[in-house]
């Protein structure tokens, strides 16, 4: 992948989640508080599994799969993002393969080591965690998310900062991208910036950012900006919000407390 298309891909990444989050599905219409609580509870359940639990967390896949289907979040997008989170988990999991070589059990005559179990378990749990967070981001419009953070008493400085940073991501990546194209054309198609040029390259971008910040501030001031924010009104939970929270948290707890996977396996073994 060339560097310019790398910039373009990042911008597309930002707007793909944003365009999905402005949808109007059942999941989108739920209270952001219910979605945040359900996600946090789900994450806590996922990471509470033992390090060798490779099959018990499988039923938890139902949450991301069903939620993505209900919210109209494309699986391809979720999987692409998961590949970003993979390297560090793979590193730790592969190390377990090396350091944890005792046999756990034999399966059809092949010994399965504890390392394999823990690698599989880490990957499964990493997948569940990444999916849960991405679905939260993709099914909750950004403004609803920040409004909920405000209701949760997150300092207003942090929320305004969150909004401004998010808003200008695309603009600055775009700017970096055009600077990069210009640099690349002047250097006969160099694919990367030379380290000795980095000071002036990133420095230029930084100076432009400073000037842009001045203009942004002036524009905000013209529109009546003051550092204190308008307090968000409390929005009560509807029955559907309670039902969603109860369903996600309840089923996560059920799958944590009972070994559904083995029960299914045993049931299948008894069938002819």
């Amino acid at each position: 992948m060339t560097h310019t298309s790398n910039f373009a891909a990042k911008i597309r990444d930002i707007y793909s989640i944003e365009s999905i989050s402005s949808g109007n599905s059942v999941l989108h219409r739920l209270h952001p508080g219910a979605k945040i609580t359900a996600t946090a509870f789900f994450l806590a359940v996922v990471v509470s599994f033992g390090r060798y639990d490779f099959s018990r967390p499988v039923p938890l896949l139902s949450y991301p799969v069903l939620a993505a289907a209900l919210g109209g979040v494309p699986y391809a997008l979720l999987l692409r993002r998961f590949s970003l989170a993979l390297p560090f988990c793979l590193l730790a999991g592969t190390a377990n393969l090396y350091f944890d070589r005792a046999a756990a059990f034999t399966l059809g005559g092949v010994a399965v080591s504890f390392g394999i179990l823990s690698l599989f378990s880490i990957l499964l749990r990493a997948f569940l965690c990444v999916m849960a967070v991405l679905i939260l981001a993709a099914a909750t419009p950004f403004t609803h998310l920040t409004a909920q953070l405000e209701r949760m008493r997150v300092p207003s400085v942090l929320i305004t900062l969150f909004e401004v940073t998010y808003r200008y991501l695309g603009t600055l990546i775009d700017e970096a991208s055009s600077m990069y194209t210009a640099y690349s054309l002047r250097c006969g198609g160099e694919s990367r910036v030379k380290m000795r040029d980095m000071g002036s390259f990133a420095g230029q971008l930084l100076l432009r950012s400073f000037d842009r910040a001045e203009r942004v501030y002036a524009a905000m001031k013209c529109r009546g900006y003051r550092s204190c924010r308008v307090r968000q009104e409390r929005v009560p939970f509807a029955a559907a919000d309670y039902a969603y929270m109860f369903l996600v948290c309840g089923s996560a707890l059920l799958f944590r407390l009972t070994d559904v996977t083995s029960a299914v396996g045993r049931l299948a073994a008894r069938l002819p």
Binding site: H3, L158, Y168, M198, G203, F210
Partner: protein, 337 residues
């Protein structure tokens, strides 16, 4: 260096969240108390986006053929000051976590401590500021940036090792993991430090008032707060985490008690710490399975292995089919509507 959720235990994750939230509340209060706060917030936001964009610019590292990108903690601190830069890093990490799957939500607290609290609230006031800020000069800025970035990355990498090991998910031995992480981050730190220095020197040469303005405006982290952060780091690094790392076992014990799962009775490892906490002599689940070797087969953490594997495959296929049906139904409805 972003940590993932799957490698953290709930107790280490929540401990780090508590530290990060405390530090963010402190930084937000100090920033909001600044009379220039109103003007500074758009600048912080735009610089946050700048760091995002700048991290995407890959540069060639001479003589190695590999490429690197800048980190941003020390750079932001040098331009904005300790507390505002910390808040900016918090926001960058939150956006990376939510929208780019880069570092988990549970691990966000740990990432904020490793990549934000360390460079902005500890290294910047203790290393960068004393060297560079009183009388800024290109030489001082260079020395301070390189040293600042190297120290931040070393401390950050050390915390990653500590948090991973205390979580007990990865099997890496402490010394091996440390020997892997520290030298790599030393090399990265030197390169990143040089680039940070050259960016700051460029800004100083073309618009000295930005660097000088930052030096005169920055209200340093209050003297009372520095020992508090150091104490918090020690507390997390030592006492609290070792105490907390007993808790996941406690959690599993509690869950096992409720579920009455046979695997737990089978593995009899008394865990004194948890026992003290829970005021009972707990029978802990088998983190000692590996040493038991093949005999551990019956104690397999997922019940009988064959049932686990078969059940896993069937459950997965059922869920996938259900997801497919709902997606198709939705698509058809959207099409007809």
């Amino acid at each position: 260096m972003h940590m993932a959720d799957a490698l953290l235990s709930p107790s280490v994750g929540t401990t780090m969240w508590a530290v990060a939230a405390g530090a963010a509340a402190y930084a937000a209060k100090r920033t909001a108390g600044d009379e220039l706060c109103e003007r500074k917030i758009p600048l912080m936001g735009v610089l946050g986006s700048f760091v995002f964009a700048a991290q995407m610019i890959n540069f060639t590292i001479p003589m190695t053929g590999s490429s690197g990108h800048i980190g941003g903690g020390i750079l932001l601190a040098a331009l904005l000051g300790a507390c505002p830069s910390f808040l900016t890093v918090v926001v960058i990490l939150a956006i990376q976590c939510l929208f780019f799957a880069d570092g988990g939500l549970l691990a966000l607290g740990g990432n904020i401590v490793n990549l934000g609290l360390v460079p902005c609230l500890v290294v910047y006031p203790l290393v960068y500021r004393p060297i560079a800020e009183r009388i800024p000069s290109p030489r001082r800025i260079t020395a301070a940036s390189i040293l600042g970035v190297v120290v931040s990355l070393q401390l950050g990498a050390f915390l990653v090792v500590l948090e991973t090991l205390l979580s007990g998910v990865a099997e890496l031995p402490f010394s091996a993991f440390l020997m892997l992480m520290q030298p790599i981050h030393l090399a990265i730190g030197v390169v990143e430090g040089i680039v940070t220095a050259s960016i700051l020197c460029f800004v100083y040469a073309s618009r000295p008032e930005i660097i000088e303005g930052a030096a005169s405006q920055n209200r340093p982290v209050s003297r009372a707060a520095l020992p508090a952060f150091a104490a918090a780091a020690l507390l997390v690094g030592g006492a609290l985490s070792s105490f907390a790392s007993g808790l996941p076992d406690g959690l599993e014990w509690a869950v096992g008690k409720i579920a009455g799962s046979p695997e737990l009775e089978a593995a009899g490892v008394a865990y004194e710490q948890a026992a003290e906490i829970q005021g009972t002599t707990a029978i802990m689940p088998g983190y000692a399975f590996a040493s038991e070797g093949a005999e551990g087969a019956e104690n397999s953490p997922s019940g009988t292995p064959v049932a686990g594997v078969t059940g896993g495959v069937i459950t997965f296929l059922t869920i996938a089919a259900l997801g497919g049906v709902i997606s198709r139904f939705r698509a058809r409805r959207a099409h007809s509507g």
